[in-house]
């Protein structure tokens, strides 16, 4: 089942909904053998019925035996809100293998949306941004909302530069409910600036998680001799040597990741580094871990 979470395998599946279903179902099937996590289908407790509760959740068997109405509660039943922020700048189009960073982010976002809407009944929203907000799907848990999210994800194409300040400021106006905000980007910006831009999202007690998605080539570039590199966002050219890439650049990218991790932790923001050649379960696991912690 782990094989179904391989990005290369998922890339061969044409429909994003099918990708999401494949990822989540496979992931959940793996989790059922774990004692740490449960889903809303798993019974948690009974609670006395109160006016306003959904009658569909009344345990009629208990009511028949005891003549009292109880509401059957499950793990994670408390509804939450999940906002997915997807960076669709030009740099996200980089790919050293079959799966680009944006494609990988699409898979994660689709899987999270599927998991949240179908399994957890959480309201899920989507923001696709580059230097501006290019697409916005308000959070909702209505039937058919998942298809809208997936359609927006499919339409996201890498273009323009990345700007965290303007889109995230714009998003603050829509975050009125407590929930989770997942920001998926390659985060090519000074870590302090990124955290400074993301921190306001923690209003109303939101949990904020940064998924830094990088291609393996970005972490360990393979350059033979001297190479001319072109910046996908700015078009700037720079000649780099093999020696520099093998040494100094790796130090700088590792320092960048470490700085971002430290700054995020200091600001109470979750951070995870995802590589586009790794399975998607890490992202899903992180989401469930956060959600479980909030129940």
């Amino acid at each position: 089942m782990q094989n179904l979470l391989d990005p290369a395998v998922l890339n061969a599946i044409s429909g994003l909904d099918l990708v999401a279903a494949t990822v989540v179902d496979g992931f959940v099937a793996g989790l059922h053998r774990s004692a740490d996590f449960g889903f809303s289908q798993e019974f948690a407790e009974y609670r006395a019925y109160a006016p306003g509760d959904d009658l569909r959740h009344v345990d009629w068997n208990v009511y028949a035996r005891s003549d009292r109405a109880y509401i059957k509660r499950f793990h994670g039943e408390t509804n939450s809100q999940l906002m997915l922020l997807v960076d669709a700048s030009s740099s996200m189009g980089f790919a050293s293998h079959a799966v680009s960073k944006l494609a990988y982010v699409r898979f994660i976002a689709a899987a999270l949306a599927y998991l949240a809407t179908r399994r957890q009944r959480d309201a899920t929203g989507l923001v696709v941004f580059g230097d501006t907000v290019r697409d916005f799907v308000p959070p909702s848990s209505r039937q058919g909302h998942l298809q809208r999210l997936l359609a927006s994800l499919m339409q996201a194409e890498p273009q323009a530069k990345t700007s965290y300040a303007a889109p995230l400021t714009h998003l603050q106006t829509f975050l009125r409910r407590r929930g989770m905000v997942v920001v998926m980007s390659d985060f090519y910006a000074p870590p302090a600036d990124i955290v400074r831009a993301v921190t306001p999202l923690r209003v109303h007690g939101n949990e904020v998680v940064l998924f830094q998605v990088l291609d393996p080539e970005e972490l360990r570039p393979n350059v033979n001799g001297s190479s001319m590199l072109i910046d996908l966002e700015t078009g700037a050219q720079l000649e780099v040597s093999e020696d520099y890439v093998q040494g100094r650049y790796r130090e700088r990218i590792e320092a960048h990741v470490a700085d971002l991790t430290r700054e995020a932790r200091r600001a109470g923001i979750g951070y995870h580094l995802l590589q586009t050649d790794q399975p998607l379960d890490q992202a899903l696991m992180q989401y469930l871990r956060l959600r479980t912690g909030r129940d």
Partner: protein, 675 residues
């Protein structure tokens, strides 16, 4: 060790190319897209590190390939015997067959010496026999068979050609360029001083050639010759004809010689002349009896000397009737006819009877009686007259038009079939006149005349005739003398007049020469020469467009042209002395005389110092018998055999190329895997 063609070593500079390419490949590569350059910094590598070369082995092999290639072209050689290798060289036996070799026993001596060299030749040495006359003819391939070589040498006979030692140097350079063996060149010749070229550099030999000279004949041999004959090529009144013959003696004592003039092989006149020692004397034959037609004439010295071939000088005289020309002018114009006629009468070779009529009288004239017609500044021709004249021209007639002030008033030039663009009166300009700025030297009526630049043209008619041949052009590019072909005839246009108002040409001496020359041109007499030298070419196809067949009847009664040559060849070199009867492609018949070049008459050999200097022009030349004539035994040649390493260099090149391919393939595979 040395280099036979050291200039090619400059090709070694090409090693800079692979070095540069290897550096370039390292410093520049295909641009590669990357997410963000935020974490990159501009390179700060040291120059030494930046210029570090990858793939040293590959680079060294590539450099080696280029170096070996340059070395192979430069043809390395070593002297002496290579271990295990037989000495290899090409023996070239060049026998002089020029006319001077007819003197005495020179040719027999040359053959004998050449046969001696062949007999002494090592069996495995390749040799080639070359006959050196007006051109170098290879009589054999490069063979080892002594019998083949000897047979070729025995078949060599002297010719009437002029010899040139520069031809041997040229042949040597050609052979050296085509073979990779050292060449041992043997020249069997009388080493005539007159065979040396004016520029000694033309004798320079290639480095891989050793020259062995085999002089034959005495260094100085007395010889008399009819050096030249000055005779008109065409006459119509023999009583006025003067034939001047010059007799020259080379290394001769003072003597009285009898000179005979023969016309058509019949004695026409005979005179005695005293020729000073090693000097010249001339004799004049006045008013010989010359029959009509093409006449074979010759001047001959009595007795025999060392070289009989130059004792006779053949030439051709054509006797014909005077041709009739018609000069047409306006009735009001009385001057131009006077100028034209006077100039024609004044010409020394005048053979034209000129009739002068007005344009009104032209209507009743029978044009077939005239060879050419001159229309002097005619304002216009009656349509019937013009039509009749056009038909006459198309049938082969020739017309000279002058377009002066009267003709310029018309819209077009009659017969010339060209519209008049306008006229220009230079007297109204600041410069007052125009000068001739361009002369087509190949245009017979004007090209050979000097002094055109001094002619002033005051008035000119401009015509639109882009297809016309332009013989003279003014400084403002206005054509002054043009010619067009009309059928079989020609129409020549002088875009100014013959009068003094439009040009001062009639006031210049060139006017007489010009009128004489253009009258000859229009009458079809051309400028035939009375005699040629052996080796000169005759024009068998004056009009290349004609597809007719030409024919040559040689002095020995043979027809030397084969069918292809008769149908296609345009010029043909005269191979031997004597009279040649020609049938030109246009069916006209002609007769030319060819004589042995008088440069062959001086039998004095070049000085030994000059010959030694020639041999020294090649640093591997061998000092041979130039100071002591060969009398039977082959010359002693020092063994300075030169071994060309070109073949070894090529093998080395092959090895280097294969190694480079293997190494390059390995690097290519590794690059493909890494990418």
């Amino acid at each position: 060790m040395g280099w036979l063609a050291p200039g090619f070593l400059l090709g070694a500079l090409a090693v800079a190319v692979p070095v540069w390419l290897h550096l370039l490949k390292r410093s520049a590569s295909q641009p590669k897209k990357f997410s963000s350059l935020m974490l990159f910094e501009p390179q700060r590598r040291s120059t030494t590190r930046r210029r570090r070369i990858d793939h040293w082995l590959l680079l060294l092999l590539r450099v080696a390939v280029l170096l070996v290639l340059a070395a192979a072209f430069a043809e390395p050689y070593v002297r002496g015997h290579l271990p295990g290798a037989a000495p290899a060289k090409l023996l070239v036996l060049a026998v002089d067959t020029s006319a001077s070799m007819r003197a005495g026993t020179r040719m027999a001596d040359a053959r004998r010496d050449a046969l001696a060299v062949v007999a002494a030749k090592p069996r495995d040495t390749q040799a080639q026999v070359v006959a050196l006359g007006s051109r170098a003819d290879s009589l054999t391939e490069q063979v080892q068979d002594a019998e083949v070589l000897a047979a070729a040498i025995r078949g060599i006979n002297p010719t009437d050609a002029r010899g040139s030692l520069a031809l041997l140097a040229s042949l040597t350079r050609t052979l050296a360029a085509g073979t990779h063996m050292p060449i041992e060149m043997h020249l069997f010749s009388d080493m005539q001083a007159t065979g040396l070229p004016p520029d000694f550099n033309e004798l320079r030999l290639p480095p891989a050639v050793s020259l062995v000279l085999h002089p034959v004949g005495a260094a100085t041999t007395p010889n008399w010759a009819v050096e030249s004959v000055a005779a008109p090529s065409q006459v119509w009144d023999p009583t006025k004809t003067r034939i001047v013959a010059t007799v020259a003696g080379y290394a001769t004592p003072a003597a009285t010689r009898t000179i005979t003039l023969s016309i058509n092989d019949r004695l026409a006149s005979q005179q005695s002349i005293k020729v000073p020692a090693s000097g010249r004397a001339s004799v004049v034959f006045a008013g010989p009896d010359i029959p009509y037609g093409l006449v074979r004439a010759s001047v001959q010295i009595d007795g025999r000397d060392a070289l009989p071939a130059d004792d006779r000088y053949d030439f051709v005289i054509q006797r014909s009737e005077r041709v009739h020309g018609l000069f047409v002018h306006q009735s009001s114009d009385v001057a131009t006819g006077l100028y034209f006629g006077s100039a024609l009468e004044s010409a020394a070779d005048a053979a034209v009877v000129l009739d002068e009529v007005t344009v009104d009288q032209l209507r009743n004239r029978d044009l077939s009686a005239y060879t050419f017609i001159v229309l002097s500044d005619i304002a216009g021709l009656a349509p019937a007259v013009e039509t009749r004249m056009a038909s006459w021209v198309r049938a082969g007639g020739r017309v000279l038009l002058s377009a002066g002030t009267a003709a310029a008033q018309q819209r077009r030039i009659p017969l010339f079939d060209a519209p008049i663009l306008g006229s220009h009166d230079y007297t109204r300009d600041d410069i007052r006149f125009a000068s001739v700025a361009a002369v087509d030297e190949a245009y017979a009526p004007a090209g050979a005349l000097a002094g055109w630049q001094g002619i002033k043209v005051f008035y000119v008619t401009r015509v639109d005739a882009p297809q016309a041949e332009v013989g003279l052009r003014l400084a403002d590019q206005t054509p002054l003398l043009l010619e067009k072909t009309l059928g079989k005839g020609r129409v020549v246009l002088l875009s100014t007049g013959f009068d003094r108002l439009t040009t001062d040409l009639p006031l210049h001496p060139q006017f007489v020469a010009f009128i004489d020359r253009i009258a000859s041109y229009l009458s079809g007499r051309g400028s035939r020469v009375s005699a040629l030298s052996v080796g000169d070419s005759v024009d068998l196809r004056p009009d290349p467009a004609l597809r007719g067949s030409a024919d040559v009847l040689a002095p020995d009664g043979t027809h030397p042209l084969d069918l292809r040559q008769a149908a296609q060849v345009r010029t043909w070199p005269l191979p031997a002395a004597g009279f040649y009867a020609l049938t030109l492609a246009d069916s006209r018949h002609d007769l030319v005389a060819a004589n042995v070049s008088r440069l062959e008459s001086d039998l004095t050999a070049a000085s030994p110092d000059t010959l030694k200097l020639w041999q020294a022009s090649s640093d591997r030349s061998t000092l041979a018998a130039s100071s002591a004539p060969v009398t039977g035994a082959p010359p002693i040649v020092r063994d300075e055999s030169v071994h060309n390493l070109w073949w070894y260099a090529m093998w080395l090149l092959l090895v280097a190329v294969v190694a480079e391919s293997l190494v390059a393939s390995r690097y290519l595979n590794s690059l493909r895997e890494s990418s």
